[in-house]
Structures are given as C-alpha cells and as structure tokens.
C-alpha cells in the first residue's frame, strides 16, 4: 500500500553505507559524478533497498533477499581474467569480437579493440569518461526509470564499464561479445553505454564469467539506437551461486530504428532483469524476448516498461517462463502509450509452465493508454504441462523425462525462434537440457 520508509536499516544496507565510505576515494568520477553518487547513497539511506512495498518490486523483495553486502571487487589482473575466460566460454566456436570488463573495469589487454576500431567501432573505458567534463551525463536515467532502486544502487557504486560507439553506417561482420569477468569475490558494478550510429548495425552478446561469491552483480546497459540503426542484444544470465544478479537495460530508439533483445535466465538464485525501452522517433520497432528457467528456491524476475512516446511505432514483447522446485517466476510488463502516440501497435504475451507443485508465477501485464487510435493487446497464461501432449509422446515410446524435455524445449523455443538470431541462439537448446538435467 504505502511505500513506507524503512525505519531501521538492514545489515545489507549498513554494509552498503560502509562500503561507500571505504571505497569512495577509489571510485572515479568528476565532482558532479561524486555528487550523484552521494545523492544515490542518501536515497538508499532514506528509502532502503527496493522492497515489496514498492510496487515495482512487489514480487522481488531485494531488501529481504540481501542478507549482507560484500565489499566491491578488487581490480583484476590480466592473467587471472584470461584464465577465467579460457575456462568459461559462453559461445565456444562462434566467430565474434570480444570486449572484456573484469571486476567492473574495462580490460583493453584482452579486448579486440584494434580490430573493432578497424570496423568503425571505438571502445573506451567508462572510468576516464566519468572523470571528464560530461561524466555526469553518463549516469542519467529516462523518465520511466527515475528513482529506480537498482539504478540508484548502480550509480552509487559503479566501478567502470565500457563505452561502445559504432559509427554511422557501419555494419559488423561478426557479433560483439561484451563479457564481464569476476576473478575474485566481491560486488561487480558496471555501466556500459552502447551507441549505434545512424544506419549502423550491431549485434551484441552479453555474458558473465567467473564467481563473485556473495557480491552482487549490478550492470546497467544504456543503448542508443540512432535513426535507421539496428541493435540486437542477447543477454545470458546463467549459473548457480548466491549472488544477486541485477540487470538494467535502458534503450533509446531514434526514427526507423530496430531493437531486438533476448534475456535468457537459467539458474541464479536471485535475478532481476529489467528493461526500459523508449521510443523517441517514429516508425521504429522493438522486439523484446525473455526466456526464464528457475528451480530450487530461485527467484527470476523479468520486468519491462515500453514507453511509446511517439506515433507509428511497434513493439512486441514475448516472455516464456519454466518453473520447477519452489522457485518463483515474475513477469511485470507495461506498455505506455502517450496521448499523441497514435497508430502504436503493441503486443505483449507472457506464458508460464509450472513443472512442480510448489513453484509460483506472478504475471502482471499492464497497459497504460492515452491515445485512441492504437492496437494494444496483452495476454498471460500459466499452467502445467498438457497431459494429452505428454501422453501422445509417451504412446510413441518416448520416455517420460525425455518427453517432458521435448515439451519444455518446444515451449521455450517459440520465443527463441521468433527472436531470429539463429547463429547466436544455437547453443541455447543444450543449455535448456543442461538446466533440466542439472537441478
């Protein structure tokens, strides 16, 4: 009901304040950036971490989940980062460029900086930019994400990240993998800014490697897709571990632009993948897909706000969730259509499959519409595996476990196929199988 202020700070909150005091001097930034960081910490002091009384976090109570907050991770050495990457490569054989951020800081030594520069893509570390004249602008948020708890937490502690700039008209032959590596225990807080220039095309793969222990991973990805440009981002959030995985996408789309994204969650204990999509130019399109698998005591939250502020834009949101054990799946999606955003076409679908008696799904597909000439639709379903389908497969001699796997795969691949980035999503089927077999 009322977002009442927490009177007493939790252990994790106290840890965060302490973390800020000890690492303040090491965190880079101009005077203005430092002021933003301090304001962010004050906001956490006033409101606490996001909790269930905050409507946007109703189902994902980060405040209750975080029992403590680890210190920020130390800077990584190149050899250690390389070792982690060699051991844990998310895409194996796939041809791609690589940008490496280790323990929150850009690592040029392991990145294909020169090759990318040759293709017209420049990479710079966020740290230098934060210290510069326009540093504070790098930490701005769109209207729909103002005062969001995760972004606030990110602003307070951001260690670094990269600025990726694809020049006007470039079209890369290979996708670019932005991999964030943890070489030691400790929180990893990054902010990555990606700009795709006019008419340019970029495909981005976002992956995570290493183990941050109890330290939370908090990453903000801020994309600008200019007029006529194209950006596809595939985010893999995979693996066990107790660390909270907190991801934010902010996407700003120009005119005639196309943005696609797939958020793939399998396995972490607590994940929140939130996206704020903003249309600022006409005739653009956004397609947002989500595939979530959670088991055990996992909580997996896919949250999305699509802001249709201008006319003639289309958006498609399609989310699939498979739940097992005592896990909890959350989907919160909202399509906003501003008064003058006529001819908007928005279509949102969320479907959940519950494999166990104790799994829970919360769906909240919202529409907020102020324009009268639009087509907006949403749908939500939840249920268990269709007995008839299972029977059909078993009658044909397929053992029960395999039949279930096939049905889960079929269910999830609807979204993956529609995302239509086959070379990149090729390996996801085996990840689904691994997950089904391994928990």
């Amino acid at each position: 009901m009322n977002a009442s202020m927490p009177v007493r700070h939790t252990q994790a909150e106290s840890d965060l304040f302490e973390r800020f005091e000890t690492s303040k001097s090491a965190l880079s930034g101009s005077v203005a950036v430092t002021a933003l960081r301090e304001a962010a910490v004050d906001q956490i002091r006033d409101r606490g971490l996001p909790h269930r009384r905050v409507e946007e976090y109703k189902y994902s109570d980060l405040r209750a989940f975080l029992k403590s907050a680890a210190p920020l991770s130390e800077s990584a050495d190149v050899a250690a980062a390389k070792a982690v990457l060699d051991a844990q490569d998310s895409y194996g054989e796939l041809e791609r460029y690589r940008i490496v951020v280790a323990n929150g800081v850009y690592l040029p030594e392991l990145s294909d900086t020169d090759a990318l520069a040759g293709e017209g893509v420049t990479i710079t570390g966020l740290n230098e930019a934060l210290a510069g004249e326009h540093g504070a602008q790098l930490l701005s948020s769109p209207k729909s994400a103002l005062n969001d708890g995760l972004i606030t937490l990110n602003t307070a502690f951001v260690q670094g990240g990269v600025i990726v700039d694809a020049a006007e008209g470039v079209s890369l032959s290979k996708p670019v993998e932005l991999v964030q590596v943890a070489t030691s225990r400790g929180a990893q807080v990054t902010r990555n800014k990606v700009t795709v220039g006019k008419g340019a095309k970029l495909r981005l793969l976002e992956t995570f490697a290493g183990d941050s222990g109890q330290g939370e991973i908090n990453s903000v990805f801020d994309y600008t897709v200019a007029d006529n440009a194209f950006l596809a981002t595939t985010r893999l959030i995979i693996g066990g571990g107790d660390a909270a995985r907190l991801f934010t996408t902010i996407a700003t789309l120009g005119a005639e632009a196309e943005f696609k994204s797939l958020g793939f969650i399998a396995g972490p204990r607590f994940t929140r993948n939130q996206q704020f999509i903003n249309f600022t130019g006409e005739n653009s399109e956004a397609k947002i897909y989500g595939v979530t698998m959670a088991g055990g005591d996992d909580l997996a939250d896919q949250t999305l706000i699509v802001d249709h502020a201008v006319p003639h834009c289309n958006s498609r949101e399609f989310f699939k969730t498979v739940l097992d054990g005592r896990s909890k799946g959350v989907y919160q999606g909202r399509i906003n259509v501003a008064q003058h955003a006529q001819k908007t076409d928005g279509e949102m679908m969320t479907q959940a499959l519950l494999l166990s008696e104790e799994a829970e799904m919360a769906n909240k597909p919202e529409l907020e519409i102020f324009a009268d000439d639009v087509i907006c639709a949403h749908g939500a379903t939840s249920g268990q595996i269709d007995e008839d389908l299972l029977f059909y497969l078993r009658a044909r001699g397929i053992p029960e476990a395999e039949a279930k796997t096939l049905l889960v795969l079929a269910f999830l691949s609807e979204a993956i196929e529609e995302y239509d980035e086959d070379d990149v999503t090729e390996g996801l089927e085996s990840r689904v199988r691994d997950w089904l077999a391994g928990h």
Binding site: K364, H378, G379
Partner: protein, 490 residues
Amino acid sequence: MPAVQETIDQVKAIDVDQYKYGFVTDIESEKGAKGLSEETIRFLSAKKNEPEWMTQWRLDALRRFKQMDEPNWARVSYPKIDFDDLYYWAAPKSVEGPKSLDEVDPELLATYEKLGIPLAEQEILAGVEPKNRVAVDAVFDSVSVVTTFKEELKKAGVIFCSISEAVREYPDLVKKYLGSVVPVTDNYYATLNSAVFSDGSFVYIPEGVRCPMELSTYFRINEQNTGQFERTLIIAEKGSYVSYLEGCTAPQRDENQLHAAVVELVALDDAEIKYSTVQNWFPGDKDGKGGIYNFVTKRGDCRGKNSKISWTQVETGSAITWKYPSCILRGDNSRGEFYSIAVSNGYQQIDSGTKMIHLGKNTSSRVISKGISAGKSENTYRGLISAHRRASNARNFTQCDSLLIGQECGAHTVPYIESKNASAQFEHEATTSKISDDQMFYCLQRGLSEEEAVALIVNGFVKDVIQQLPMEFAVEAQKLISISLEGSVG
C-alpha cells in the same frame, strides 16, 4: 482503429451533462452533528436503537480507523477528504423506524416514482400475477424508508429488511456473519464504513429456498455534505438461490459527496447469489465539479462447496469509482463470475476491477470487463487472480477490453495474475484480435467476410455480458448493449 460513430453517439447520450437524476427532493431532514468522533457514533447508534455490542463494534472500528492511512495506490486523484467536515447521519424527518407503505411520506414516494422505482406493491388482481415483481428496500440518505413485499417474502422464509432492523431483530445472524467476509480492518474505507455505516439491506435465504422474486435496494443520496455508508449483508444458506439488484443515484451538487459502502455475500454449500448493480451516482458536471466519490468494498465468500457468486455491474456514474467486487472461492468446486461494463465521461475517474481468490479445489472463475472512456476521463481495470497452494485444478479466464473515444482520456489495464499451484490454469487476454482461430475459421468457411465474422463473434460475446443482467436492468443496459467493440485496445 478509432471508435465508430455509433459508439460515440451512444456514449454521448449518457454523457455527464445528460444526467437525469440530478434533482433534489425538498424534504425536511434531520442531521447528526458534523465530524467523526465517538459522540457521532454513539449518536448514530442510539438513533438506530442499536444494542450495546453493535455500538462497541463501531467504536472499535473507529479506533482502528484513526490509526490507518488513506490508500494511494489507485489511479485516481482527489483532494484530501476532511472526515470531520461530513455529516454521518441524515434522515428525512418523517421517517421514524420501520413503516408500512401507507405511512411513508408521499414526498419520498414521489421521489422514487420519479427515479423510476415504484414502491407500491403490485397487488394480485383477479388472480393475474404481475410478472417480474421485485421487492425493494429504499434507502434515502442514512435510513431505509421502506421495504416492500416483506410479508410475502416472509412466507417463503426469506428475510429481507434493512440492516438496522436486522441488527435489532436477528442479532445472532448479524453477529455471526457481519465482518466475516470483509473484516473490520480490511481497508481504509471498509474500516470507516464499519464505524459509521448507516443503512443498507439484509438478506437471509434459508436452506433450499429459491427466493420467489428479485430483491433490490435503491440508494439515494439527497442531503448536502453527507456521506452515505451503506452496509449490505446477504446470506444464502445451503442450496438456496437469490438474485439481488442494486441501483443508486444522487442529486446534482457542486461539492463532492462520499459513498463508502461495504457489501458482504456469503454462499454456503450449493447456494448461488447473483448480484447486479447499475451504478449511476451523479458523476460531476462537465467541468468536473461535484459528483460522488464511490469508494466501495464488495466481496463474496463462496464458503460452501459447489457454491456460486456472480457480480454484474454497469457503471456509468460517480466522479471517482474505487471498487473491486471480489470472490473468495473457498469451497471446493465453487465458482465466481464478474461481468462489468464501465463507461467514463467528463472528468470521471474509474479504478475498478475484481479479485478472484482461488482457495478450494476445482474452483473456477470468469472475468469479463469492458471499459469505455471518453471526454477527459480515466478508466483503469485493476484485477487480481490468484491460486493458492491447495487450489488444485483452479481455472480462470479473464478478458478485459477497453475503448478510448477522443484524445484526452486514458484507459489502463493492471492485472495481477498469481499462481501458486501448478495445476491451476489461468488465461488472460485483452483484445478483439484474440478471437479464437477456430471460431474465425468456422465463420470464414461459411462464407462470411473476416469483418462480418469478427462482428458476429464479438456481438455474441457482448450479449454474453448483457445477458447476465436481470430483466429489470435491461433499460439501462440497453443504452450500452449495442456499443461495438471496434477499435478496442487491451
């Protein structure tokens, strides 16, 4: 697609400046002192001749109310209500205790006549029984002025009277059920209502009885600066059936008036309650001045197995509506239904919807909601569908469509769908384009064009909702019946 002309015309016909029930009845009335205090409650309770336990119940609610904060989650905005600047008791002077029809002030009878609610009992003439007889409980400001057909209902064992009378005459039933569906501290306005409720209806249908006629309550707010705090309690014993209708209007006044009602329904094994509302409170004038704040808690408890509760509402009035008729599906195999058409115009704000809470096994629910916003109004559907751990095989189907007419209004959908049971099957959809492919295919195959097919299916679907309304409401519903759904958005 924008709305079609026909729809625009129909909505215009019920625009806020077309409000027909805005007259004031000039009748001498008596008011309690202004303000919300223990004295007010003692005064009110004494006025109604209530037993001490009832007074204590109210005082307890007041104490709790003082500790609560006004909810702010709904998508409505209004200046803060000063609860100390309201009258909690207003009654026509001529009403003192329950009366027979002959003794009712002719002025009051004329008022109800004018509202289209004849209170005179239609006599059985020459053995010809009039069709569709309805027993009416007429509530004027804070009191029930008359309840018709009481004697005849009594013969069937049905108790139909004002809640004030029930508190005095049937204290055991009231004690047992009052507050058992909507607890005193359920929410801010329910707590306020528990402290100061004035009048409303009490219905008790004994085991196995099918109520011989429709029951109805007509609420009228007449006085200035008053709040109306209706309290209705309906109990359907095992195997019984009742259909209940509710209507409401208020005069056209410049200031806002508060209507904070609580309605509780209890359906025991195999019982069925059908509750229909045409809510037509004064919506404010075309500049958004005046109008009723309708802050209502309505909840039905399907307590017994195989029980059924169905809510049907046509909402066209009120400056602000804040109302979520809900069903608690506690009994195994119980069923809840919610059918709603909500039209907002002028500066009206509607935040309405339903909650279907599945607790028992094999429970099912169906939600169909149509929101139409025009003018500068805001229309929000807010609903919760939840299945608890033990609610195996729960089923829900929800469809909510909304339509915008004009550039300055808003339509919003905020559904919460929470499933804690794997065998619960929930479906939620919100658009005309979601018509089932099978139905489309069937129609197309028979030579209909796609447009004709959609029209046919959609019309069939609207009729579905309208048909849930009892005959008596047909007139009001008629105005909305042919509203097409072209241009619907989710």
